[in-house]
């Protein structure tokens, strides 16, 4: 692969879509980790993949059915009194099995199922880029309002009920952001690469730095840098992007061995 391919206008949309998603997923992943719900991201990604396959027989856009399926799963999660990793593991199993069964029984299902599970970043179109950019803007805009509420709820769980402050607005907004992150990440990159971005950058960042804002910034930065490295490596070595990104993120997790400066 020659250098010019990396800067080919054909790949610009894909590159910037992935970059926006790398930042968005790493940030959302930090909040999921705060809530002890990081595994939910993988569950939602799997459910979104299954929902995306349903788009074929229904003749509607993949984004629509993927979002609908993930939104139903997120709503069910909200109904649980204390959702934990066991529930999210069930979500993963359900999403994975449903995706493969649907893929095997729907015309062209194998193709789209494969793309949703493994990712097809290079086929991103301007609509994907616009959606990813909107997600980043929504995350950054909601941060000053949403973040203190998420932190307060984590450390003082009955603060909202004790003060008769409705908690549903911030929970709904957070769920919506997680659902859109999972859906866009799954459609653009695939379920596993999207989950790796939710999971690894915050996991590394939380162990390396002191202070919440520093951890958020490092998480987003790591997501962006490792994404750029994976994109470049995949093109330079003519390797599939998704597995390259996941491998790079896994390798980067060795940074956790650096002792924290507590």
């Amino acid at each position: 692969m020659s250098d010019w391919l990396l800067f080919d206008p054909m790949f610009r949309v894909a590159f910037f879509t992935g970059l926006a998603l790398a930042v968005a997923l790493s940030l959302t992943g930090a909040w999921l980790r705060l809530r002890g719900e990081w595994l939910a991201a993988f569950g939602l990604a799997q459910i979104a993949a299954a929902g995306g396959i349903l788009a074929l027989p229904l003749g509607v856009p993949v984004t629509l059915t993927a979002t609908a399926a993930a939104a139903v799963a997120a709503a069910l999660r909200e109904l649980l009194p204390r959702p934990d990793n066991s529930h999210f593991a069930l979500m993963i199993l359900l999403g994975w099995s449903a995706a493969l069964i649907l893929a095997g029984n729907v015309h062209h299902g194998q193709v789209i199922g494969e793309s949703l599970l493994r990712g097809q970043l290079y086929f991103s179109h301007p609509g994907h880029l616009a959606a990813a950019a909107t997600l980043v803007i929504a995350l950054c805009a909601s941060l000053p309002w949403l973040q203190p509420r998420l932190l307060r709820e984590r450390f003082f769980p009955d603060w909202f009920s004790a003060n008769r402050i409705p908690a549903w607005p911030h929970r709904l907004l957070f769920s919506a952001l997680v659902v859109f992150s999972a859906v866009l990440g799954t459609i653009a990159m695939g379920a596993f690469p999207a989950f790796a971005l939710f999971f690894v950058p915050p996991w590394i960042a939380f162990s390396l730095v002191r202070g919440w804002n520093a951890a958020l910034a490092l998480s987003a930065g790591l997501g962006a840098v490792l994404y750029c490295a994976a994109f470049t490596l995949a093109m330079a070595l003519d390797q599939p992007f998704g597995p390259t990104l996941v491998l790079l993120l896994v390798a980067a997790s060795m940074l956790r061995l650096v002792p924290p400066r507590d």
Partner: protein
């Protein structure tokens, strides 16, 4: 319904509370403005459940809880939520609910710039308790606030209780009877 005193914040009338079923009550009490009320009783009497009934996280099966309009409440849990491996600093934790201009007690100064993951159980407990006492609320609910605290921290906590802003009330659960007797205006006993 017992008559709430002037400036009463909370009145519980024959309250039976629990989760899937009742675990405490019936019990009646009230908390007036500016007073410290203790909740005593043996293990399992439902003291923590009663606090949670006041915050709406435990179910009231019978009786009624009346709150003053616009009542602001902070609640220190017996086992405060402490998610592992979070990089939050002590000052960030306290700042989630405490007033920005709240004076910092001496034992807390060294803890503010350390991540809460690196604090001992007693240090974390103290920061949480202080955050609740420093929050701009009318009623502070403290559930076993002396757990894991050393003598210095307990003395500081006692000082914070005595120096709290005017009008702020405390409803406190503790198994340490001498602490309750020394610092509470009244003690309400829950049966076994």
């Amino acid at each position: 319904m017992p008559e709430p005193s002037a400036g009463g914040l909370v009145t519980a009338d024959q309250v039976t509370a629990g989760y899937t079923g009742p675990v405490t009550g019936p019990v009646s009490f009230h908390v007036a403005r500016d007073e410290i009320v203790g909740l005593g009783g043996p293990n399992g009497a439902g003291k923590s459940t009663l606090l949670r009934a006041l915050t709406g996280t435990a179910r009231v099966f019978s009786g009624a809880i009346e709150r003053a309009p616009g009542l602001r409440v902070s609640h220190h849990w017996q086992r405060p939520e402490r998610p592992p491996a979070l990089p939050l600093l002590g000052r960030e934790l306290v700042g989630l609910i405490a007033a920005a201009d709240a004076p910092v007690p001496e034992p807390a100064r060294a803890l503010l710039d350390r991540p809460v993951r690196a604090l001992s159980g007693g240090q974390f407990q103290f920061l949480q308790t202080w955050a609740c006492l420093a929050a701009p609320v009318d009623l502070v609910l403290l559930d076993e606030p002396t757990n894991n605290l050393d003598g210095t921290a307990i003395s500081t906590l006692a000082g914070l209780l005595g120096e709290r802003p005017p009008g702020r009330s405390v409803l406190m659960v503790s198994h340490e009877r001498p602490f309750l007797e020394e610092h509470c205006d009244r003690i309400v006993e829950l049966g076994g």
